[in-house]
Assembly symmetry: D2
Homo-oligomer: 353 residues x 4
């Protein structure tokens, strides 16, 4: 029953990422959305009205809006009270996040898709299967900042898929360097301004502002490998959802293609006993069909929480080089559902609710 | 006047690459298409009828069909006579090429988009601006095989753009290794079977059969650098024409971003005195706008003969690492017009006509 | 339990429509696929192998292949025995259908997506919610042809959505004429040859061979209104699945927009008591949001069995003119699942199994 | 020489339609752009800087920016002086047009792509080949309003193609009614907000705000046939440029398909003697290939000024019914170049310069 669930809020609820939070939390076994906030413009409206504009529905998530959220009144995020909340999920731009999140975190744990605090020393960028133990950084964070809550951001959506595949290899063989070219979906740019059909139809855009720097910095921090070298080229392609990444890695010692596939397939076993509701059955799926993974066919694997890998083969340039292609759902595991997964971990660790 | 031009034939003229030959040769100052050949199915028809099917035009090139080719009678490629021809342009699959091209080459120079003979020792894969001096391999070829003509293939369309950017760097700084991820246009797959909209819409296909092996082998041969290491991942994206490639290179010695741009911009100066009709004004254009090059906006630069480069920056993984993105027109410089350029070089060298 | 279900066969099982049959029948409460057939080329192989080609999966349906079908041995459709089968679902081209279906129908009911027999006088084109009573035509069919079974085809996928919206209006207000422009998905063309990305990307193709004639003829027959005038223009657009149709209709008497919406919304009530497993909860959904229906957002409504309607408004040209836009899933309700629905009706009517 | 050309200004020059004006006026034989204006935000910058943002070129027209415009200083449209100008081309939204255009028109002829004044009684919506004689309405306009200049808007881009095909039929056979379904390109929505790839990829959007009303009203006014009935459904499809329209018309008397094609082909003969620089060689091209016209292949016919027609056939619903499909370039003939053509007509009529 909803009554026994932990009450949570979703901030930035009218945007695309905020909608993904609501879609994912409609049936969540542990969390119950009791408060919804957005910018002043939407405040005071019923959520159902806030996402309607001149008769047009502005619900853009693929999954439907859980009916009971339509009647919730949208609060002004700048003034939202935190009392009675067990957690707050934020899906706002970096600038407002810098103001809102610390205010919330004084009292309540905040799980964020924004980059505002990702690079601060006492803030973990948390991917439960990859660096689950980083949750402990919140102790220092609370102490440093005098907060009762804390801020836990998820990584940039392009980092997420890649580090899921790097982690098992780093553990098994060591990792020296990684080079990656991404082919990213348009949903990653959201809706304002988003990517115009006029720009991306029949086209590739070879640059996404600040993306490469984020991926390079976050990969080192999440893996806890400050010396690993990371170099990437991030591009946008005419795909709706699901980031595709061509990865080339230099391992710490020789490994065969079969060794690598085995490491991929075994990844995430340690997550099973935690039984987090949003965990996929398989954290990584390895395709033998050389034409896979494909974003359209594989992005929704296991609710968009599985990283799909294929084309695992040796690379002839790097020392102990190995290369593969991956697909990861950028607005599910790579954003809202990833943040929910992080909250689930914190609950299991006794640090939420 | 057409009368003073060199008479040439186009074989495989009904296919997509063959159409590109005809589109490009309509106004050629040196060559005049006097003979058109295709498979038995089209033989005996007027070309204009051969590319019409139940009232539907099957002329698929973007540029129009030069009107006078409509009335030429299509010959059966397997029986086409070579007398009176100065050159033959072939645009057929690898298997028929293996039979047809040697038969033609007994008497006449053959310029081919097929891969059939690319990897034979006495056959140059000729890109005039990159390895123009390789034309001399035809001496050995003629001697070995007792031919009066010869076979000169152009590279795979994915190799072409990349080696144009590697050559000036190899010359200026040396080249140790190159890693590349391609985002290739659907026109590269032709029309039979071609790429189905059902497969590529809202999607990326992470594999193109045999493509990576071709690029790796051809790059070494064209650059004349058998020891350079090449590793790539070739993918297909929803783009009509124009291949985009994210390249990471390890140079032989340190070079700054400005050094590299300067090398790119200076490339092809030696071609000017040859005054080949199909030469672009700029062999490489370097964009400072980080959002360029884009296939839709840049593929047709200078008639599809320019390689457009952007996002030149340092790579942190490779020794003396440098990375960039390029766009090259896969069916113009990368196929038919590239073969015409090769024929132009041979004419200037006195080996054609 | 599968044991108590009716044993059925799927013929043409390796093609796109055949795959849709298998995807839909994996969990069917009444039917159990016990036999799979295809052309000679696939015969003798396990189904899982038959749809794999050089390591590539050729399972193209969006829904997954039910695992147990992988191990079924594919039979040669031309020699498949019909003993022990309660029904046969065929998904083959018109030409083979003309030979195979009568042979099967001697003994067993055949439900077909092919057009081969649609226009014969004793053959119903069956849409259970629209012309359910037409099933009785099989009596004459069996008598005329001396068959124990019968052939029941479903309509062309473009007809299906339109007649679902015309039927309630014809019943409530009469129907004099209908004009329609379709914007059809590429999946309607299947995979051989299918629609090339090279042709449809950034494009509209204004013609689909024989489509308009089919829609015009089938609409009259299904509605049982030989005098209704039908005129349409069928086009192909860059959409993967889901046909969009802009319909203009001349009703038999005046009706307001609200009258028409009410008729749409009430449609299909008579189907409830039949409790066919593949029936949608709502046969027609009427959108008030003027930006709906959209094929990507609405095609999968209720398993692809609902016809989504929007933009209902008066037309100023036709007598008692009304216009609307509809979206219907062309390979679900418009093909395989529509044929399964027809079989379900026949079972309820006591004419199957 | 530019010195002998008529000096003109382009207002709204940074937007997509404004860019189309500049692209088209770079080499114009009669007009010379001497002044460029935009909103306050761009005022004072060189045009080349105004369309650059953080290093990114925001020149989005397909044709290149004529180099000499880069150095022109952008003026504030609200304060631009009109002295010395022979004409002003405006490409602004309807709301600013309502203020700016009358201010300019006090002194100088204004040719506008905005809808602000289209529906006023003394304002012609001018398509030179269709209603060239409407130019005379500017006499009343000048008298009514006390202006030395005047305002001449072009139609909505969706109206333009359709009335070009209706006019020859109305003249030859009479016209009673027209029904049309459009499949419109995304460029019609401009860039702010424009159409998001997230919305239109793999999709059709069945509504464009206010479009249908505009088409219906403008068609009657331009053809000078207030009693003709017009009904349409306007949709957006994943096409970059070029509107496709499926038209059904009721003619005033019987006409065969050949009669109609002949009327189409003969259209525009009266324009030849005017020798307007922007006139196409053929105002209407009739395709016999049933797969034409297609927006990607036909939009740029004769510089985007030709209306391409195909699939001409009888319609069985309307009295003397005829149907066809057309493609018209929405941002060339349908916007900037159409306005330039109107200005050319006014010059020939002695009312400009």
């Amino acid at each position: 029953m909803a009554g026994s669930k932990l009450p949570v809020a979703v901030v930035g609820a009218t945007g695309l990422a905020g909608q993904q939070f609501l879609a994912a939390l409609g049936d969540h076994p542990w969390f119950d959305v009791v408060r919804i906030a957005a910018s002043e413009r939407s405040a005071g409206k019923k959520y159902g009205d806030a996402i309607r504009d001149a008769g047009q529905s502005r619900w853009f998530a693929t999954d439907p809006l859980p009916a009971r959220f339509e009647a919730l009144t949208v609060e002004n995020a700048a003034q939202m009270k935190t009392d009675g909340l067990a957690a707050i999920f934020t899906a706002v731009e970096s600038e407002p996040a810098r103001e809102l999140e610390p205010r919330y975190a004084k009292d309540v744990p905040v799980f964020s898709t924004a980059s505002a605090f990702r690079y601060e020393e006492d803030v973990p960028i948390l991917l439960p299967a990859v660096n689950g133990e980083h949750w402990k950084m919140v102790d220092a964070q609370q102490k440093n900042r005098g907060w009762k809550g804390y801020i836990i951001p998820v990584p940039n959506c392009t980092t997420t898929g890649m580090v899921h595949t790097l982690k098992p290899l780093a553990d098994a063989f060591g990792l020296k360097a990684v080079m990656m070219t991404s082919m990213q979906a348009v949903s990653g740019a959201g809706r304002s301004p988003g990517v115009l059909a006029l720009d991306i139809t029949d086209n590739v855009i070879p640059y996404i502002s600040k993306e490469e720097e984020k991926v390079e910095k976050e990969t080192k921090k999440i893996l806890g490998l400050p010396d690993v070298k990371v170099s990437c080229t991030c591009t946008r392609v005419p795909v709706i959802e699901g980031h595709t990444e061509a990865v080339f890695a230099s391992l710490g010692k020789p490994a065969s293609v079969e060794d690598v596939k085995k490491a991929f397939r075994g990844f995430g076993a340690h997550m099973r006993e935690l039984a987090l509701p949003s965990s996929p059955a398989a954290w990584i799926t390895v395709h033998e069909d050389p034409y896979r993974p494909q974003p359209r066919r594989d992005r929704d694997a296991d609710g968009g929480m599985t990283t799909s890998v294929g084309r695992v083969r040796e690379d002839s340039v790097l020392a102990n080089g190995m290369k593969w292609v991956l697909v990861s759902h950028n607005t599910k595991m790579g954003a809202a559902k990833g943040a929910i997964l992080a909250a689930e971990l914190m609950k299991v660790k006794g640090r939420l609710g």
